[in-house]
Structure formats: C-alpha cells, structure tokens
C-alpha cells in the first residue's frame, strides 16, 4: 500500500495580525506551522501503514522554508517527502494549486503507484477546502470529504469504508481504491513522535522539485493559471458596539428583558 498525503505550510492564523492602516497581513507576527488538519492526515496514513504495511509519502508545494513542514511529517512517521518549489507556482489559486500538486503526484506515481491519497479538510489560511476535491477530479478518482473515521479498509478487495461528517449527522460511504480522503481533526489524536523519528527528521533532506523536474504546462501555473484574483483585502466590518446596560445586576436584567419584549417584540406569543 502506498499512501500519499498533501501537506501545506501555513502561518498560525491564531496569532496573525492585520495591519489596521494598510490592511495587509503582518506575517512576521505569525510562526509557520504544518496545517493542523494535514498533521492528522499524516497520522492517519502512518496508522494504516503500521496496520497494513506500505509506505507514506508526503508532498508539499511552497517556498523553500516549507522543508521544515516535511521534516515535521517525517517526525510523525512519514517515509518520504517531496517539496515542489518554484517561483512559477507563486500566486496560484486553488485550480492552479491542484494542477501543480497533481502533476507532482503523477511523477511520484511513475515510480510507484498510489493506493490512497489524503488531504486536510481545509487549510487554515486559505480556508477554501477546494484543493483536495480538485486533485481527485484531475486524477479522475472519487473524493470523500470531511472524513472523521475510517470504518474499514480492505487491502484484498481494495475498498475503504469511511464515516463522513455532514451538516446534520454522519454518512457511511464506501469507495474503491484509489480514492482521496479529506480529513477532520477528530479522525485521530496526534501522538508524541518516538525518538527515532525525531532523529531521522533532523537529518532528513526532502526531495525538492522545480518546474524543470515535473511535466507542467506553464500556462496553468501561478497567477497565469489562476482564474480567480484577490481584488481587494479589507478588515472585517466592525460593529459600532452594543448598548451598555447600566445599573445593579437586577436592573440590568430587567432592562434587557424589557427591551426584548417591548422593543423587539420577542416572547409575544409563547416561545419566541
């Protein structure tokens, strides 16, 4: 079994700040981390490998410093990592990103066919959740999104059965291999990396490919290959702030209830 996981390096959006004057992102304030969903995807692939044998390969597209994200995956138990890095990829939207990643994957598949592909449910910076399904479509294989549990995996029948999260519950879906899963964080809990993995990661040098190493049509890459453009960036609308209710605790509660009843007409009938 050969598992491939797509991993993205992202700024930690919990600490990223928007410059209120220029409306640009102050990236220096945010450390780069592995996209949290992708860490869970690697963990899941490693668990399958431990159970059913095989190999875990990770692929990332990003600037040279994304090497550290691949090393992180080696720590998590991945066997091999590829970074595709080239100025020609800069500015790619999801369509161009899925194209570049698919072309890299195809090159990996020339050496060794792939049985199961993983991506995160979404990246915490772009937040689109579009790259996983895009890669699957380009490969012409099924995509199962928002997977939060693998129910069963049959190497002999080459089928996988997963639980997917949907709005109001869950769905159990079965697919033939190869297919692509996008995973939720609930799929597993990250475990501490064993020492040998850490040592291997420290020394590991990922394979870095540029556009000269993979077969690509340059018109489908980067800004040129991206049908969408970011028109403008602005701060989320700020509300003017709520009306402060003053008084003792009793008065505050009475005032708010009065507003709900008499200004907003709530609770007029029974219920709302």
């Amino acid at each position: 079994m050969h598992y491939v996981v797509f991993v993205k390096q992202v700024p930690d959006t919990s600490v990223v700040k928007l410059d209120p004057v220029t409306n640009t992102l102050d990236r220096s304030s945010a450390p780069s981390i592995i996209n949290p969903y992708d860490a869970h995807a690697v963990e899941e692939a490693v668990r399958l490998k431990q159970k059913y044998g095989g190999k875990v390969t990770v692929i990332s597209m990003g600037p040279p410093m994304a090497v550290s994200t691949i090393k992180k995956c080696i720590e998590l138990g991945a066997d091999e990592g590829y970074l595709i890095s080239d100025r020609a990829f800069a500015g790619s939207d999801t369509l161009a990103t899925s194209y570049a990643l698919t072309q890299a994957l195809k090159k990996v598949m020339e050496k060794e066919p792939v049985d199961l592909i993983f991506a995160g449910k979404q990246a915490i910076d772009g937040d689109t959740a579009q790259v996983g399904p895009g890669v699957a479509r380009r490969l012409g294989i099924p995509v199962l999104t928002q997977v939060d549990q693998i129910e069963s995996f049959s190497v002999n029948d080459r089928t996988i059965r997963v639980q997917r999260k949907i709005e109001d519950g869950h769905e159990i879906v079965e697919s033939k291999l190869p297919c692509l899963l996008t995973v939720e964080k609930e799929i597993n809990e990250l475990t501490y990396s064993p020492l040998p993995n850490m040592i291997r990661a420290a020394k590991y040098q990922p394979i870095v490919w540029t556009t000269n190493d993979i077969e690509v049509d340059r018109n489908q890459l980067g800004l040129k290959g991206s049908p969408t453009v970011v028109g403008k960036i602005f701060a989320p609308p700020k509300q003017s702030g709520g009306e402060r209710i003053e008084g003792t605790a009793d008065e505050k509660v009475a005032k708010v209830i009065d507003k709900l009843l008499n200004v907003h007409g709530l609770f007029a009938k029974e219920g709302v």
């Binding site: 399904p133 297919c179 969408t228 602005f234």
Partner: protein, 347 residues
C-alpha cells in the same frame, strides 16, 4: 489535461443556484441563495435558475419557482438517489456546458463545497470559497464575492475575470430567502444524467442523522452560548438552565468545547457552525473573531462578560458588564416568571 478555455462573456448568461436536497428536502441555504440570486439576476437583467438533481425530486420545482426561480434545470434518476460527487458532478457540468450560465452559486455545506470544487476543476473556472457577501461590478459585469480568510482576520474580495461561469460557495444563514409567492411558475428544462450505476466507484452505505430531542443550532430561534468564563462544567450548566426556560439551543465557544463542557456540534464559529438566530446570548465568551464570524448575523445579541473591554461587546446589541454567576440566575428567574405568567394567560 485541457487548459481552461476563454470564451466571450456574452455567450454566458443567467444566474444559477445549485439546489441541494437530501431525501427530497431542500437545504435552507438553497432557498436563501435563490433570494440573493434574484437580486443579482435582476441587476444583470437575466434569468434566475435552479439546478436540481436527485431521485423523485420533480415535485420540488414548485417550491423553487415560488422562491424566485424563473427556470429549473432538472435531472431526476435513481442513480442520483444519494449524493455522490462522482455522479452529481457529471450532471451539473453537462448542464453548464450546454446552457452556459454566467454565475453559478452553491451553499457552502458538506455537499456544496465538495460538488462546487469538483465542478469548477472540471470546467477549469474560478471558484470563490465560503462567501459572505455578493455584489456585481456593473461596469465590468463581474461578480464580486467577498469572504473571510486567515481565520477570519481579513475579508477578501475575489474576482473571476475571464473564465465562465463565475462560481462561488456561499455560507448558510448569510442571505435571506424571499417570502414565497404562491402560484408563481416557471420553465422546466429536463435532461437525462449521463452516468450509469456500474460506472460509479462509491456507494453510500448509510446515513445517520443526529437524532436528539435537542434543538439543532442551525435551526434555533434562540441560542444560549457559553464560553470559558463559566469556569467549569458545573458553571456551564447555567447555560443549559437558561436555554431550557427559553426553549433555546445550547451553543459554545471552542474553548468551552475543548474543555469538554459541550460537544463539537455545539461549537459556534469559524470551525464550528454559523448561526443566525433571532436572539443570541453570549455568556463568558471573549468574542474572538473566530467565534464572532459564526454568530454576527444574529438579530439580537446579549453579551454578558465581566471584562468591560471584552471584544464581544463590539459585536452585540446589549452589553452587560457583570459576573455570569450573578446575572444569569437572575435571567433564569425572570424568564421563568414570564413563562408562568404567559401560561396563566393562556390557561
């Protein structure tokens, strides 16, 4: 690999809404999008259409006309009984290639995100994710789709200048459905789906819907949400008590969920559910942007926080600076009185 083809815009006309349904029930977001789509179509002076795929769903067309659709594109076939992107994708793509809309919108739901990405890739066109604002630049006849990004820290307006259709997925509960117009009718364009069961590689084995007597967050008219300020599981019980007297659903911040006081399905925000109830209580919630993007469309927000500078006070209607353990029991008591009074009047 086919490069994205550029076509003159004039060939592409009309605003289309993908109508999401499961077991013959239309997802509310699809009707919301018909409401917003109506405005866009009127502005552009073009037709509004719904794209409906499923098995035995023909009867739903009536609802779509009444909610503003001029035309419904229908594929009705047993192979479409359960949603599978590999089958639905073919249907939507075939409709687009044949009838060429300029705008195609999906709800940003599990189904909608999955289908929209697949369709956009197949068509080689642009797709804006998780939109919360839509507008038209009339001068250039362009859809301006704005969306939160970077964990809600920024808003970005995304344009798709050349390729058609211009596609976007749109968050539920952002737009409003129109008041249905009884008896309104439209055109039906029906086609056969070009997929056979034997071609498909996925199978839906079962669907388990959350069966709890609790009111679902996304459907609730009133939500009482609690955060880390409630200190512990016992403190969080106050949220349940207030919800119970109000017949409300219980919501939570991520920190409350991570503390184990509430389940993930109760999380409101960027990585939880987007809600828009009539009334939202935010109790002991600081108001981080990742939380407020999920509740800022609520009609009335009552925030209770002991920190006078809490960010939540910027996103609320009424701000109560105070200790939740003092304020909330008083609300419970007063609402109980009101309820009893109401019941007495009825009896």
């Amino acid at each position: 690999e086919k490069p994205a083809v550029k076509l003159p815009e004039s060939e592409y006309q009309g605003v289309w809404i993908y109508i999401e349904q499961r077991n013959g029930k239309i997802a509310p977001v699809s009707l919301e999008l018909l409401g917003e789509g109506r405005k866009l179509a009127d502005k552009l002076g073009v037709e509004l259409a719904g794209v409906l795929l499923g098995n035995n769903v023909r009867h739903l067309t009536k609802t779509l006309y009444e909610h503003g659709a001029d035309t419904v594109y229908l594929m009705d076939d047993p192979v479409l009984d359960q949603y599978r992107s590999e089958a639905y994708q073919v249907g939507v793509v075939d409709f687009v290639r044949k009838y060429k809309p300029e705008i195609l919108l999906f709800g940003a739901t599990a189904i909608g995100r999955d289908l929209a990405s697949t369709v956009a890739t197949e068509l080689g066109t642009g797709l804006t994710a998780d939109t919360t604002r839509l507008d038209i630049d009339m001068q250039n006849r362009l859809l301006e789709a704005s969306r939160p990004a970077m964990g809600g820290n920024i808003m970005a307006t995304i344009l798709c200048k050349v390729q058609r259709p211009q596609m976007a997925s749109v968050r539920p509960k952002v737009f409003k459905a129109i008041q249905p117009i009884a008896g309104r009718t439209g055109n039906l364009i029906e086609e056969k789906i070009n997929v056979k069961e034997a071609d498909l590689r996925t199978k839906v084995i079962s669907v388990a819907l959350d069966v709890s007597d609790k009111i679902r967050l996304s459907d609730a008219d009133i939500i009482v949400a609690g955060g880390k300020g409630l200190q512990d599981e016992k403190g969080f019980r106050l949220v349940h008590e207030l919800a119970e007297v109000l017949g409300a659903a219980v919501g939570a911040s991520r920190d409350a969920v991570e503390a184990g006081w509430a389940s993930h399905s109760q999380q409101v925000g960027q990585t939880g559910t987007t809600v828009a109830p009539k009334l939202y209580f935010a109790i002991g919630i600081s108001g981080a942007v990742q939380h407020t993007v999920g509740m800022e469309n609520s009609e009335i927000v009552v925030a209770i926080n002991k920190d006078p500078n809490a960010q939540i006070f910027e996103k609320c209607t009424y701000a109560i600076v105070g200790d939740a353990f003092e304020i909330v029991p008083k609300f419970i008591e007063e609402f109980k009185k009101l309820k009893q009074g109401g019941e007495r009047k009825h009896g």
